[in-house]
Subunit: 452 residues, 2 copies
Amino acid sequence: YKRRTDTGTSLKSVFWGTFVHSTCNEAVQVLEDTAVGVDHEGKIVFIKTGEDVQRVSQEVGFNAADVKQLGKHEFFMPGMVDAHIHASQYSFTGTALDLPLLEWLNTYTFPVEAQFEDPEFAKKIYSQVVRRTLRNGTTTACYFATIYTETTLLLAEIADRVGQRALVGKVCMDRNDGASYYKESTEESMRETDKFITQLLGKGYPLVSPIITPRFAPSCTSPLLEFLGKTAKNNDIHVQSHISENRDEVNLVQQLFPDCKSYTDVYLKHGLLSRKTVMAHACYLSDKELEIFHKTGASIAHCPNSNISLCSGMLDVSRVMKHKVKIGLGTDVAGGYAPSMLDAIRRAIDTSKALTILDPKHQTLTFQEVFRLATLGGSQALSLDDQIGNFAVGKNFDALLVNVSVPDGPIDICNEEDPKVILEKFLNLGDDRNIVEVYVAGRRVVPFDNTS
Amino acid sequence: YKRRTDTGTSLKSVFWGTFVHSTCNEAVQVLEDTAVGVDHEGKIVFIKTGEDVQRVSQEVGFNAADVKQLGKHEFFMPGMVDAHIHASQYSFTGTALDLPLLEWLNTYTFPVEAQFEDPEFAKKIYSQVVRRTLRNGTTTACYFATIYTETTLLLAEIADRVGQRALVGKVCMDRNDGASYYKESTEESMRETDKFITQLLGKGYPLVSPIITPRFAPSCTSPLLEFLGKTAKNNDIHVQSHISENRDEVNLVQQLFPDCKSYTDVYLKHGLLSRKTVMAHACYLSDKELEIFHKTGASIAHCPNSNISLCSGMLDVSRVMKHKVKIGLGTDVAGGYAPSMLDAIRRAIDTSKALTILDPKHQTLTFQEVFRLATLGGSQALSLDDQIGNFAVGKNFDALLVNVSVPDGPIDICNEEDPKVILEKFLNLGDDRNIVEVYVAGRRVVPFDNTS
C-alpha cells in the first residue's frame, strides 16, 4: 500500500464500519470495525479490521475527521451486478406478462423495441432505466439495447454520464418471422456491429464496454452467428445472448438448426462461447450442455422473475453450481417485471424453494448463497471478478451504503440484531430507500447530482 | 340517498376521479370521472359516474370547492384485506426462513411469542405491525396474537387507536410438546378465551372484533377444540386457524386425531367450520375436504409467500375457486416475510405461474383475479363483504388513494397508459410510497397523525 501512495495514487476516501461481502470460501463474510481506503482511481488500497479510527488514520496518513464513519444500522456491501437486462424494454416493465415467450416477443416486445429508432424516446427510457437500476443498487448492468446503433450508443453515453458500470449490446437479428418490421439484413447487422464496437471503444468510457449481442439463435442466421463469433474472438470482446428459456423456443432452435446437437451446440459451433460469454436463462440445459459451459468458461445469468412471470421454467441453480458453471443473477426487465436486484435475489430463493417443495431432496439455496450470486457471482459471470464483486485490495470500490433503519423506510428493526440478520432483513424487506449511497469505482453516484 | 341526508347522516366527503375495484362479475372494474360520497359514519352514500364535479356537487348539496379531486396519476382502490397475519411474529419478519413448519415453530416462533407476556415488548411490536400494515394498504387485518389475554387486548386497542379494521385472536393451545414453556392448561385456555371475548366486546371498538383462534389442530386437545366450537356458535363469532400447510403437519394431525377422516374433519367434528371461519394455507386439501369448506361456508386464506418461504406447498387457487370456496390472501407474517398485501398479490401470481410451468394446462390466475382476491375476496373470506371489499353504496369507505407517480417513488411512468395498465404497474412495482392516503370507514388514517 505505501508504495501506492508514494507513487502518487493518493487516498481519496476512508470508510469505517461494517462491510458485508462474499468470498469464494464464504458466502457471507462480515467485517466489523473495518477501515477501507479508496484511491483517486476508485481502487481499494487497504482493508484493515479490528483497529481504531485514530490508529488507522495515523497509519495511512489520512485526516481522522475525514474518515466516513458508518452509523449503527449501516453497512457497506458490494454493488450488485445485473447480468441480464433489456434497457429497451423498461418502458413496459411491470406490465404485459400474460403470454409465453415467443408470443410475448411478437405482441409486446418487438413493437416497443422498434420505437428506439427515435433518439428522444430512447434518451428518455434509457435515462430512466440507468437511474432506476443504479438507485436500486445495480452498479454493473449487462444491457441489451435494440438493433439501432445510434441509440445504443446513447445508452452507453448515459451509463457513462450517470456513472454506472455497464456492458452495452447492440442487438443483432437478421431473422424475425413474427415481426418482420423489426430486423436487419445480415450485411447490415454485421456492418452495424463493427461500427458500434469501433465507435463505443472510441469513446474511451472508463466504465462502459461493448458486448456482442445476437438476440438468440432463432433470430439469427448461421452466417451472422459465425461473423459475431469471429468478431468476438478477434476483439477479445464479451458476448451475450439467450439460451433454453422456454420449451417451445428449445424446439424451435432444434428445427432451425437441425445440424446442431443442442441449443448450446448452436452457439458453440459458431464460436460464441468463451469465458467472456454470458447466456440468460438456461432453464432446460442437459448435463452435456452444462459441461460445454464449464469447459468454455461461458456463464449463466439466472433470471428467476422472468422465468416465473413468463411461465418459462425453473432453473436448478444448485445443479449449475455442481457443474462448476459460473452463474449470476439478472432482472431480465421486462420479462422480469422488477428493475431491482433485490427482487432477483428474492425470486432466486423462491425458485429454489419451489424446487424443494417439488423434491424435498433438492438442495435449497441459502440467502447467503444468493447474496453471493448477486454480487461476486455476477462479477464472475461477466468475467469482471478481477475488477469488482467484493471488497479486496486492488478491486474497484463498487459499493452500496445500506441503512436498514432510514426514516419512512420499509424495515422496522425490532431487536438488537447481528449483521447477518440485518443483512437478511435487508435482502428480504429492503428497497432503494435503504440504499442511501451508491459508489461506482469510488465515485458516489447516488444520491444523484442534478447535472447527471 | 336524499332520505339519508334528510335524516341527518350528512355528507362528510366527496371524492372525484378514477376508482378501480372488483365486483362479483368483473375482476377489475374501472370507474373514471366518478364521484363517491361518504357520510359521517364512513359509509358510501352515492357513486355517480360520467357527470361533472359542478353538477354532482349541486345535486348532492356539497360545496364543489370541498370535493377532493384526484390527480392525473391517482386512483382509489379498495383497502386490502390481510386474511391471515401473526402480529406477534412481526419482530422477526424477514428472517429465520430456513426450516420447515414444525421445526420453524419450535426454533423461532414459540420463543418469540413467549416474550409477549411483557406488555412493553408487546406494545412496541404491535404498534409497529399495525402501522406498517396500514401504511402498506391493509385496511383490514385478521390477526393471530399470542396465548396472553392482556397483551392481545393491547393489540386490539392499538388497532382501534391507529384506525385499522381488525379481527384479533387470542391464541389457544393446550398442547405443545416441542416447546412446553409456551402453552396453557385446557381450563386456562377456556377461561382466558371467555375473558378475552367478553373484555374485547366490552370495549365497544367500532372496527375491532374478537376471533376465536385455536392455533391449529396439533396444538389443541379435543376438549379445547370442542369448547371453542361451542363458544363460536353461541356467540356467533369468527374462527381462524391453520389447515394443511405442510405434509408433515398433515401426517401429524392424522396421528393425533385417528378418529377423524381428514384434517378438515377435525375442525368439522369440533364445530369450528362456519361461514365465519377462515383457515390459513389449505395446500393439501382433498376434493372432499374442499366440499366441506363449500358446504359450511368456511374460507381459505392463501398465504403464498409463507408457503414458498417455508417450503410448505403450492396452493392451486383455481381449484379452490372451482369448488366455490371463498378465498382471500394472507401475508402470514412471519412465515411470509413481507407485511405487505402487494407482496401477497405478487406471490399469488408467482405460485399460479409456477403451477402453469409444471402443467401447461393449469389455468393461470390473472393479475385482475388476484387483485380481487386481495380486496373483495378477502372481505368474503372474512364474511365482511356486506361491509367492505369494494365500492358500493352502503359499504364502508375503506380505500387507498394510489399515486403511481410520486416523487422518489418506485415506478416510472413512461407512456400515457390506461387505468388497467396503471393498476398492473402498481400491483407489480408499487409500494407504500404510492399509497399516499389510506381511509378506513371514511377516516383518513394514513398519513399518520402523530397522536396515534
